[in-house]
């Protein structure tokens, strides 16, 4: 694609960061790396998310009957997501993302109406599902308010009709007329607390308990904003409401991130943006927003997968085979058999596939006649040099008066978890890594030392008993439970259930994705940590220093 910037080696590293740490925060005006869409906020900061070639989604795996990475409590999680969608997607005539904020309680009520249960257990489950959705950037929960997360922008346009139909048939909760605090007030109260906003948004006189009034927030206070698009009366309570959502035109028109997108907006949205000064307004937008203009919601910009030069040479069938193989190795839970995919079988196609993966900082990992993808060792080892810069630049939006005040929460966990911008470790905190190490020792190292595990693999049929983790380690029990939850959700651990006592945790499907050299490095690190004084550790150190 004709992305404006030629990223060079930065592209793959950025993709590694996005895969390991979630949506990439982007500084004001910073373009999205190649192969990503840019979710732009009115202050021109944004987030970047990788997109897939030829408009496919991981749902493609279902067509090929390949199991994707398991989703924890999938049904429940998706029902809660549906409830969030019902609450946040208030204007069905525009794209679901970014939607408008809604209080958590409204989401819980909607979920309750959906499943018809009102007990505390249901509530706990729903809150757990919300946390998982937040961790995976599908929703952003912040201070009692929920908004749709960046990943919702990846739903293909063709599927929006299905989602609209879903939202229409979801029952609305019957809430008591007399709520102490109106929904919109909750939203209004939650939003400014996050960001240091001038008192411009103080007059929150919201009449009805509808979030719609927020959606029309293109307030008079921010008339200098170039992106003010809704000719709304200035009853708005806060500047954090999404007012317009421009979709990335499928036509090749708007691929340059900073270009105006309004020009490509389909006619369905034309009246919504009719009053907007269209093409010429986009250019001043950058300068205007720097003056802390606060208005409206985000836009989706750019977004080609960036494989056209590789795929263009192939006919339609080969191209489809390549895309299928790409999606499968990237998203399958386990290595897939090469006989099932032409692009894995045929060395020439496989070469192209590796080139596609290389642009994402990935390599093919082979297990005899099965394949999966993993992080390229070079990219993974890049000590986030570019990553740290971007993270520093992007550390502005959470503090800045972005319309994204609540939404930057999605970048928050990544930084808050101690990842601090570096590629290494992704978003795993100290406790998570410690627990993972313990499981690797008990499930892999010890069985191997006893000769029970011959394979060169970090997966294991020998579960680490939860009791062993609880009682015989130096980890506080509270941290342990939270870490186990996070690791399970990320597919780094799998829970094995067997009766009352037996069962426990084994390394999860992500360990299929370690390259041979990563597997070796993991082994060496374990030896260095467990037996630093052994001749074996000395040999490891000697070899490393020789390199």
């Amino acid at each position: 694609m004709s992305t404006a910037q030629q990223p060079g080696a930065a592209g793959p590293v950025a993709h590694v960061r996005a895969r390991s740490g979630g949506p990439l925060p982007l500084g004001p005006g910073a373009p999205a790396p190649a192969g990503m869409i840019r979710l732009t906020w009115p202050d021109s900061t944004g987030q970047a998310l990788p997109v897939w070639p030829d408009g496919v989604t991981p749902a493609l795996l279902e067509e090929y009957q390949v199991a994707p990475a398991p989703v924890e409590r999938a049904g429940e999680t998706r029902r809660v997501l549906a409830a969030v969608l019902k609450c946040c997607w208030t204007d069905l005539s525009v794209d679901p993302w970014p939607g408008s904020p809604a209080p958590v309680e409204l989401v819980l009520d909607t979920y309750r109406a959906l499943i018809g249960r009102t007990d505390d257990l249901m509530r706990n489950w729903a809150v757990g599902a919300l946390r998982r959705l937040h961790d995976s950037a599908w929703v952003v929960v912040d201070d009692g308010v929920v908004v749709l997360g960046p990943r919702c922008a990846l739903w293909p346009v063709e599927a929006h009709a299905q989602l609209q139909e879903l939202v229409r048939r979801l029952p609305s909760p019957d809430r008591a007329e007399l709520t102490v605090v109106g929904d919109a007030d909750i939203v209004a109260a939650a939003m400014p607390t996050r960001s240091a906003v001038p008192a411009a948004s103080a007059e929150s006189t919201v009449p009805t308990a509808s979030a719609e009034s927020i959606a029309s927030a293109g307030s008079a206070a921010s008339t200098e904003s170039a992106v003010s698009v809704m000719p709304a009366p200035s009853t708005g309570s806060t500047r954090s409401a999404p007012a317009v959502s421009a979709r990335p035109a499928e036509s090749a028109g708007s691929t340059v991130p900073t270009a105006s997108v309004e020009s490509a907006v389909p006619t369905a949205f034309a009246e919504a943006v009719a009053s907007a000064p269209s093409a010429e307004s986009a250019a001043p937008a950058e300068s205007a927003v720097s003056a802390s203009a606060v208005v409206g919601g985000g836009r989706v910009e750019g977004g080609g997968a960036g494989f056209d030069d590789l795929l263009g040479a192939y006919d339609e069938r080969r191209r489809a085979e390549l895309v299928a193989a790409y999606m499968v190795v990237e998203h399958a839970a386990e290595p897939v058999q090469e006989v099932r995919f032409a692009a894995l079988r045929d060395p020439a196609l496989r070469h192209t596939l590796s080139e596609m993966l290389a642009r994402r900082g990935r390599v093919l990992v082979q297990y005899r006649d099965r394949w999966i993808s993993g992080y390229d060792d070079v990219c993974a080892a890049t000590p986030g040099a570019s990553g740290r810069d971007e993270a520093a630049a992007a550390s502005l939006p959470p503090a800045g008066p972005a319309g994204a005040a609540g939404l930057t929460g999605s970048a928050g966990p990544a930084a808050g978890a101690g990842g601090e911008g570096s590629v290494g470790g992704g978003r795993l905190g100290v406790a998570e890594r410690a627990v993972l190490t313990l499981v690797l020792v008990h499930s892999v190292a010890i069985p191997r030392a006893e000769g029970l595990l011959p394979e060169d693999s970090w997966l294991s049929p020998h579960p680490t008993p939860a009791d062993e983790l609880r009682r015989h380690t130096q980890l506080p029990i509270g941290e342990l439970e939270a870490a186990l939850r996070t690791l399970r959700h990320a597919g780094l651990l799998a829970q094995v259930k067997a009766g009352e006592e037996a069962g426990g945790y084994v390394p999860g499907p992500q360990f299929h994705r370690l390259t041979p050299s990563a597997r070796r490095r993991l082994q060496e690190e374990l030896i260095l940590a467990a037996g630093p004084n052994t001749p074996l550790a000395a040999a490891v150190r000697a070899r490393r220093s020789a390199r």
Binding site: A434, V540, A542
Partner: protein, 399 residues
């Protein structure tokens, strides 16, 4: 020893030492002249010793010994017993002919323990103990220079032999190296301890510097050989076998004692995927459709909104009403006579007849009413009639 004069005492001492040696290796001997070639044979000896320990002063007879070793084939047991007896590990309780009870030798048991330990760790812990003991010895003010020299020479010899064996292994086949090396190579602790010992000797007896140089060279040679063996193994073992080279206990100790930070440091440089499940619109819609519905409450049947007491008022609820009704019925059936045949009063319609019969039965059961039913044994059968089976009876007035 040969230069000493051959006295009876000397012969006795020699014999004692020899018998100790023999007893110590009795468990390993295949026959009186060789060492076992099958580990099971050692297991038999161990089983026997355990049985002896349990038997206490009862000792054991041949049959009891055989019973203790019932898991092993008879001929192997006989062979073992013969060897153990021949070498004195198992002896008669009293040295008399035709002795039936046997006892076990303490030395053999201790020897066996030692041998087992040597087999487990290749003598590493023995070396640790030895070094610790020697350390105490040379620090003892009573130790003479000659004794220190002897101990240094012995240690140097042990280290040299140890290193030589490792070097031989390092140049040999990788399988053999993998099998043997982890038992032979030393930890840094052993080398450190040996150097400490060396330092102590050298400070206390500077004139032993020549012996100490030898010892030092031997220690270095050993450390070097250890490192080389580990390096070759680490290179060749690839990604599967290296973890086997640390013993299980090391892993357990690590997992139980390491701090959170030390554990986490292992995964410092690794990149894992953030959780990014895909929630496809179709899947979301499906999940909503499959939501567990609460069981709907059972609908109550429709009821009229008007009050409806039913036919309750048509029933005479006064206390004597039922008795009076029955009396009237009996009188109407009797029609003034004292006795009527049931066949005459019931009529052909069974549906009404059975109602009448039911009333008659309750009349009969009420002692306050002066009517009784009497049944005869006759039974008339007529397939054409209804009821087809009819027993004969009469209703009578009793007063």
């Amino acid at each position: 020893m040969s230069e000493q004069p051959l006295t009876l005492d000397a012969v006795l001492t020699d014999e004692a030492v020899l018998s100790t040696y023999r007893r110590m290796f009795a468990a390993l001997a295949r026959d009186s002249g060789a060492v076992v070639d099958d580990p099971v044979l050692v297991d038999i000896a161990e089983t026997l010793f355990a049985a002896f320990a349990e038997a206490g002063e009862e000792w054991l007879t041949h049959e009891q010994m055989r019973f203790a070793c019932r898991a092993y084939p008879g001929e192997q047991f006989d062979n073992r017993l013969r060897v153990l007896k021949g070498l004195g590990a198992i002896r008669e309780v009293f040295p008399k002919p035709n002795q039936l009870r046997y006892r076990a030798s303490f030395t053999s048991v201790v020897g066996l323990m030692f041998i087992r330990r040597m087999m487990d760790d290749g003598g590493q812990s023995e070396m640790h103990r030895l070094l610790a003991l020697e350390d105490l010895n040379v620090a003892d003010p009573r130790t003479t220079m000659e004794e220190a020299r002897q101990s240094a020479v012995n240690l140097a010899r042990a280290f040299r032999l140890w290193a030589l064996e490792l070097i031989t292994l390092t140049t040999g086949t990788i399988e053999e190296l993998r099998e043997q090396a982890p038992k032979l190579w030393g930890t840094e602790e052993i080398a450190r301890r040996a150097q400490g010992l060396h330092g102590t000797i050298l400070t206390r007896w500077p004139e032993l510097d020549r012996v100490c140089t030898d010892l030092r060279a031997a220690i270095y040679a050993y450390s070097d050989a250890s490192r080389r063996a580990a390096g070759r193994l680490a290179d060749s073992a690839g990604t599967t076998r290296n973890l086997t080279l640390l013993p299980t206990e090391t892993w357990r100790t690590f997992s139980q004692t390491a701090s959170k930070e030390r554990l986490a440091a292992v995964l410092d440089g690794f990149v894992f995927d953030a959780p990014a499940p895909w929630h496809d619109p179709a899947a979301v819609a499906r999940a909503v459709d499959e939501a567990p519905r609460p069981a709907p409450a059972q609908p109550t049947p429709p009821r009229s909104t008007l009050p409806d007491p039913g036919p309750s008022d048509s029933l005479d609820t006064s206390p004597g009403a039922a008795v009076e009704r029955l009396r009237e019925m009996a009188e109407s059936l009797l029609g003034g006579s004292a006795r009527v045949a049931l066949a005459d009063v019931l009529g052909p319609d069974w549906v009404t007849a059975r109602r009448v019969l039911a009333d008659l039965t309750s009349i009969d059961l009420r002692p306050e009413l002066p009517y009784r039913l009497t049944w005869s044994d006759e039974l008339s059968v007529d397939p054409g009639r209804e009821p087809a089976w009819l027993s004969r009876g009469h209703l009578e007035r009793t007063r």
